[in-house]
């Protein structure tokens, strides 16, 4: 303020300095007044908002159950910690339209991740303001709980239902999958966020996501992904080329089923159909290909085991023999000086 006052005048004069001093003093008084105002306490807010019938003009509820809030992760916080624009409000009832709560004030790392996600893109760039979720759509608002709490909307048990509140078709498919069957059986199996992440969710058809998903499958199916990496499909995928098959292209994604189930994409009954998605003309003979060979596992791939052994001996023998041959030759020629042979 003072800087502005003096700088706008090319040559400082008494009037200018006086004006600057007055303005500075006025600003100081205003600051002192703001500090003196006390922000409303939670009880002040709940005086109105604990009434289950309090509604907006359009009829939607404005009620906050104090017991729910107190038991939430944010229970110790003040209402105005999140609803920051209400900290300065003096007159109640306050205006209906409030500033959006900014979770990034505390959760900046998660907010930054979310900002790069397809959900944020849809909300902020594509204008799907009603459909795409922001923080509260998944985590809840006054009832927020940590992911380790059973009743949390983002606990492992509840994540499919939370995501499924929008992605209903996907959830319905997922519920039929072997992964859900495993979870019900008490085994470890993935829920939505294990493959898709929580905050950095991408479109499933982006190259980056397609290339990384094998690693996600590999966290449980380690040997299977390792054997995939030995194949043409796996090697090409590793080079960053996404036109060849990765896990989900053959196994399906949400409705993944074991090969023993005849409805599975990799069941004997459906293999020709599945391979034909890329390999037009694939037949019963074609699908005898093993997409997960392991030359080190005799039980799984006896032929590959033998081929591997053969080449270990052949390559070892060739390089051993000619390596020694060259070394002896070099030694002899070196001793002979540059004299030919």
């Amino acid at each position: 303020m003072t800087g502005e006052g003096t700088a706008t005048r090319p040559s400082p004069n008494l009037l200018g300095i006086l004006l600057a001093l007055i303005l500075t003093a006025a600003a100081g008084v205003a600051d002192a007044q703001t500090v003196a105002v006390k922000a409303p306490a939670n009880d002040d807010c709940l005086a109105c908002h604990s009434d289950p019938d309090v509604k907006r003009a359009n009829g939607t509820s404005l009620a906050v159950d104090p017991s729910v809030f107190e038991h939430s992760k944010h229970g110790p916080l003040a209402c105005v910690d999140c609803h920051q624009d209400l900290a300065k409000v003096q007159e109640f009832p306050h205006a209906e339209k409030l500033a959006k709560v900014s979770c990034s004030t505390c959760h900046d790392a998660e907010a930054a991740k979310y900002h790069d996600s397809i959900h944020a893109w849809a909300k902020e760039k594509a204008g799907l303001t009603a459909a795409a979720p922001a923080c509260a759509d998944c985590h809840g608002s006054h009832n927020i709980k940590g992911p380790d709490e059973a009743t949390s909307r983002v606990s492992r048990a509840n994540i499919p239902a939370t995501c499924g509140s929008c992605h209903q078709g996907v959830d319905a498919k997922y519920q039929t999958s072997v992964h859900v069957a495993a979870i019900k059986h008490g085994d470890a199996a993935p829920v939505c966020t294990d493959c898709h992440t929580a905050h950095t969710i991408q479109r499933a058809d982006t190259p980056a996501w397609r290339l990384s998903v094998a690693n996600e499958c590999g966290t449980c199916h380690g040997e299977v992904v390792e054997s995939f990496r030995r194949t043409f499909h796996g090697k090409v995928t590793e080079l960053g080329f996404t036109r060849v098959a990765a896990c989900a292209d053959c196994h399906g994604a949400h409705d993944i089923l074991p090969a023993a189930n005849s409805a599975s994409m990799v069941s004997k009954a459906r293999l020709v159909e599945t391979c034909s998605k890329c390999h037009q003309g694939a037949n019963e003979s074609f699908v005898k290909y093993d997409p997960h060979p392991n030359p080190h596992n005799y039980a799984r791939s006896p032929l590959m085991w033998w081929v591997n052994r053969f080449y270990v001996v052949l390559i070892g023998g060739c390089f051993g023999f000619f390596g020694l041959h060259s070394a002896l030759w070099f030694r002899r020629s070196w001793r002979n000086g540059k004299d030919r042979s």
């Binding site: 090697k235 960053g240 694939a282 003979s285 032929l303 060259s326 070099f330």
Partner: protein
């Protein structure tokens, strides 16, 4: 051409050409490789380097350089196109060579192709000469009197021939799996990919280390033997390196018939440039493999 003509008479090209020096009176050259053989070596050299450079990113897909090497060919897709093109050219060249061998053997009746001093087929002599070479390594025998081809040269030739046919067959199966599945069961694709990769490792290691050493980099040949580019070997070198062949040529009187002018300086220079590029690329690619394996 008569001396009576005016002094402005146009001399024959080879007399006035400065790029072809007259053959040295001391160094006589003997014919070794004809144009067909030299051309075949160039085609194999170029396609082998191309196949290696475009196939290695896939064989060593987890190496840090894999994506970079593929990017030189416009990414994995481009590398795949170049690889198939090079493979087709190499297979074509080898098919043409085999047709040529059959034609020479069965139409022209060159029986010496399959047995005898100039044949590529391993014979008892090769085993005794191998043993003598071992003894020579330790100074216990004189250098063997090699014939037209030594045992390691025969091994090189047969290994390339066998490797190209096997890798070519496996490569075609992988290129056209749907068509191949009409005659082969699908698990042969697994075998084909494995064999293609294993034979490639063998071939790359063999060519870029053993063949380079035996043919070019060993003391006495270093930095390279130009005979595969010029087609001619000096009489002195022939006498020294292939005493058996030299003695036979002297005895049969073929030496005079096979004597050729010294290679033109330009031919030698071209050979040296092409050879240096090939050696450098090969050693470089082998370095990348070492980097991937020893990492």
């Amino acid at each position: 051409m008569t001396p009576a003509l005016s002094p402005t008479v146009i001399e024959p090209r080879h007399d006035s050409s400065t790029s072809v020096p007259p053959p040295s009176p001391v160094t006589t050259y003997v014919h070794r490789f004809d144009a067909k053989t030299r051309a075949l070596h160039i085609v194999i050299m170029v396609t082998f380097l191309g196949l290696s450079a475009t196939g290695m990113p896939l064989l060593f897909s987890d190496a840090p350089w894999a994506r970079v090497l593929a990017a030189l060919f416009g990414g994995f897709h481009g590398a795949g196109v170049v690889h198939r093109l090079m493979g087709a050219i190499l297979l074509g060249a080898v098919a043409w060579h085999l047709i040529d061998v059959c034609w020479r053997a069965f139409v022209r009746g060159e029986t010496g192709l399959f047995w005898g001093p100039t044949s590529m087929v391993p014979q008892p002599r090769d085993f005794t000469q191998f043993w003598q070479q071992m003894q020579w390594f330790f100074g216990k025998a004189p250098y063997p009197n090699y014939e037209h081809f030594t045992y390691w040269e025969k091994f090189d030739y047969l290994a390339v021939l066998w490797g190209t046919l096997l890798m070519g067959a496996a490569g075609l199966v992988l290129w056209f799996p749907e068509a191949a599945s009409r005659v082969l069961p699908g698990w042969m694709f697994n075998v084909a990919l494995f064999v293609h990769g294993a034979e490639a490792s063998l071939a790359i290691g063999f060519i870029f280390v053993v063949h380079f050493f035996n043919g070019h980099l060993r003391p006495g040949k270093f930095p390279m033997d130009l005979v595969i580019f010029t087609g001619a070997v000096s009489e002195q070198e022939l006498k020294h390196e292939r005493a058996g062949q030299y003695a036979r040529l002297v005895e049969t009187g073929d030496l005079a018939r096979m004597t050729v002018p010294a290679p033109a300086a330009a031919t030698e220079r071209r050979g040296r440039i092409v050879g240096t590029i090939g050696l450098a690329l090969g050693v470089g690619l082998f370095g990348l493999i070492l980097l991937a394996v020893l990492r």
